[in-house]
């Protein structure tokens, strides 16, 4: 199929290699620096690492969610965006490696590994280290498998232009989404909710998922604006597509706030001591300030920024909103993890900066490496011309 836009559809090698080199240096440099933190304060490292890991994992699962949602709804408008999502989702196997330190540091981070409280011991059949490690590996293998199958099937379609491939991916996305929803929920229970082993919230998985959806959209938007700034895909992914990404970010910002408030509201109303402990910890001292900053930063600011049509169609404002959302998605993960370590108040450590940046640049480096020299849009997708001509209203 002939693409009617006049863009160069793959990243030219010299610039791609330079980008890759920069990302790898950043990732390795900050990674090695973080090792110093591991040597000096292992407990802080364990918690900072968990924050960074869940941040990166949520971006990966959010990306996978969007790929399958586009398939299952047979979306035409978003075809030009899908390859970028697929390329990023291919970095999910890296999380298998990044998961190893989580297991190694588990005894410093998760109270249930050593606790002798009766209420914690009662959960031992689920919360024990070997099963925790196996479950984590299963989630990550499922995500990686789904991501790679979808991405390679889509890449193969570039040459064959076979419409049957689209149907196969659509068919796989239906069970895929169910599996993703279940594994993401259990992963958030395992990695984040079990930090407080006596506390539970049935909506917690949805909360984590809502953040991952809006965070991965923000990352996609920033990636597109970055490619545009470098001069690529400007006539392929146009203002029309960015406008719709803005609408989706706006919608899922509200969705996140809706879920976050629902979780808080039910616990506040029922007022049961075993449930309220979680929010008492987050509403005392400087943690209360962070909770408010989350409500304002993850909801109010993007809500107002993304409301006007002109703002969604303005690349600098949309880019600012996306960067803001991504930052506050990380603050959200910090808010979930850190009160367990620093119950006395918010104590930002330099590791909280170096670890997520090292991990994000690592996944982006892998993404860049895997996309070099290949088309950045699915050129064999039968709906590509529809997507190129897309007109947002």
């Amino acid at each position: 199929m002939k693409v009617s836009s006049n863009d160069q559809l793959s990243v030219p090698r010299p610039r791609g290699w330079r980008l890759l080199f920069g990302l790898i240096s950043l990732s390795l440099g900050l990674g090695l620096l973080s090792m110093l933190g591991l040597a000096s304060n292992q407990r802080q490292f364990g918690f900072s690492y968990l924050t960074g890991f869940t941040f990166i994992a949520s971006l990966g699962t959010g990306t996978l969610f969007w790929i399958m949602i586009h398939h299952i709804t047979d979306a035409g408008w978003s075809v030009v965006l899908r390859r970028l999502l697929e390329n990023y989702s291919k970095s999910l196997p890296l999380l298998l490696v990044l998961f190893v330190p989580i297991v190694m540091n588990a005894e410093l981070v998760y109270r249930w590994t050593t606790s002798v409280e009766e209420s914690v011991l009662a959960k031992q059949s689920w919360l024990n280290l070997p099963f925790f490690a196996i479950r984590g590996a299963i989630y990550l293998l499922i995500w990686s498998g789904l991501a790679w199958w979808l991405a390679t099937t889509s890449s193969r379609q570039d040459a064959t232009a076979d419409p049957a491939s689209s149907k196969r991916m659509q068919g796989a996305s239906a069970p895929g989404l169910i599996v993703l929803a279940l594994t993401t929920t259990y992963a958030s229970f395992d990695w984040l909710m079990s930090l407080e082993p006596t506390w539970s919230s049935t909506i917690f998985g949805v909360y984590f998922w809502a953040g991952s959806i809006v965070g991965s959209l923000a990352l996609l938007t920033l990636a597109i604006l970055g490619l545009h700034a470098a001069g690529w895909l400007r006539n392929t992914i146009r203002t029309e597509h960015l406008h719709d990404l803005g609408k989706l970010m706006f919608g899922f910002t509200i969705f996140w706030a809706y879920i976050a408030f629902s979780q808080y509201f039910l616990i506040w109303y029922a007022n049961l001591p075993e449930e309220t402990s979680y929010f008492i910890a987050r509403r005392t001292g400087s943690w209360n300030g962070l909770s408010w900053s989350l409500a304002i930063g993850q909801f109010l600011v993007p809500f107002l920024l993304l409301m006007p049509r002109t703002f969604k169609r303005n690349a600098p404002i949309l880019g600012f909103a996306a960067a803001w959302i991504l930052l506050f998605h990380y603050v959200d993960m910090y808010w979930l993890v850190m009160p367990t370590l620093h119950s006395e108040g918010v104590r930002v450590h330099w590791l909280d900066l170096t670890i997520p940046v090292a991990m994000l640049s690592g996944t982006l480096a892998l993404t860049t490496w895997l996309s070099l020299g290949k088309p950045l849009v699915p050129v064999g997708d039968p709906r590509l011309s529809e997507s190129l001509a897309f007109h947002s209203s």
Partner: protein
């Protein structure tokens, strides 16, 4: 109510219609309206349409819903009829949020519907265009244009010739009420 005279013409295809719109706008006519059986991409821009003011009406409606929803609950539970419910303080702000949210949505939706009716001057049971015999084809295969002409009678002849020269059929003049 200001009375104005207009002209109407039927075109065979969206392309004819669009080129007629361009010709008329170049000739200096600005109050042009199109009636087509299906939406045509780019026609709003061609007609020089401003974007609707409806979002602002919805914003005001939403804000009114939010503020009134919050205040009603606060006034009832704190000032007018304070009761302790579930051991919570009178002014339990968390509890006001769901209804505040629902009232925001409700009034935003009301103002969207109401504003749409207002801007479209609905309900309106009759329109001068319904007197044009072929106008029912606007829901079938006819692409119609109307142009408003103010005051100057010789414009009437000029506009009819212009519409016919663009490929318009059944060119007629009509009285259009505002």
């Amino acid at each position: 109510m200001k009375s104005a005279t207009g002209a109407i013409a039927r075109f065979d295809s969206p392309d004819h219609l669009m080129s007629a719109i361009r010709t008329l706008r170049e000739a200096g006519f600005s109050e042009i309206e199109a009636y087509t059986p299906f939406p045509i991409h780019g026609i709003d821009e061609a007609l020089g349409r401003q974007r609707s003011k409806l979002p602002w009406v919805v914003l005001v409606g939403g804000l009114f819903g939010a503020i009134s929803g919050y205040l009603v609950q606060w006034y009832l539970s704190v000032v007018e009829y304070p009761l302790i419910v579930g051991g919570k303080p009178y002014d339990s702000r968390e509890a006001w949020i769901p209804i505040t949210f629902e009232m925001t949505i409700l009034f935003a939706a009301f103002s969207a519907i109401g504003g749409m009716f207002l801007f479209n001057r609905l309900p309106r049971l009759h329109h001068p265009l319904f007197d044009v015999p072929t106008f029912s084809r606007a829901t079938n295969d006819g692409f119609f244009l109307t142009v408003r002409i103010f005051e100057v009678p010789q414009d009437r002849q000029a506009i009819s010739e212009l519409l016919a020269s663009c490929g318009g059929h059944d060119v007629t003049t009509l009285d259009m009420e505002d």
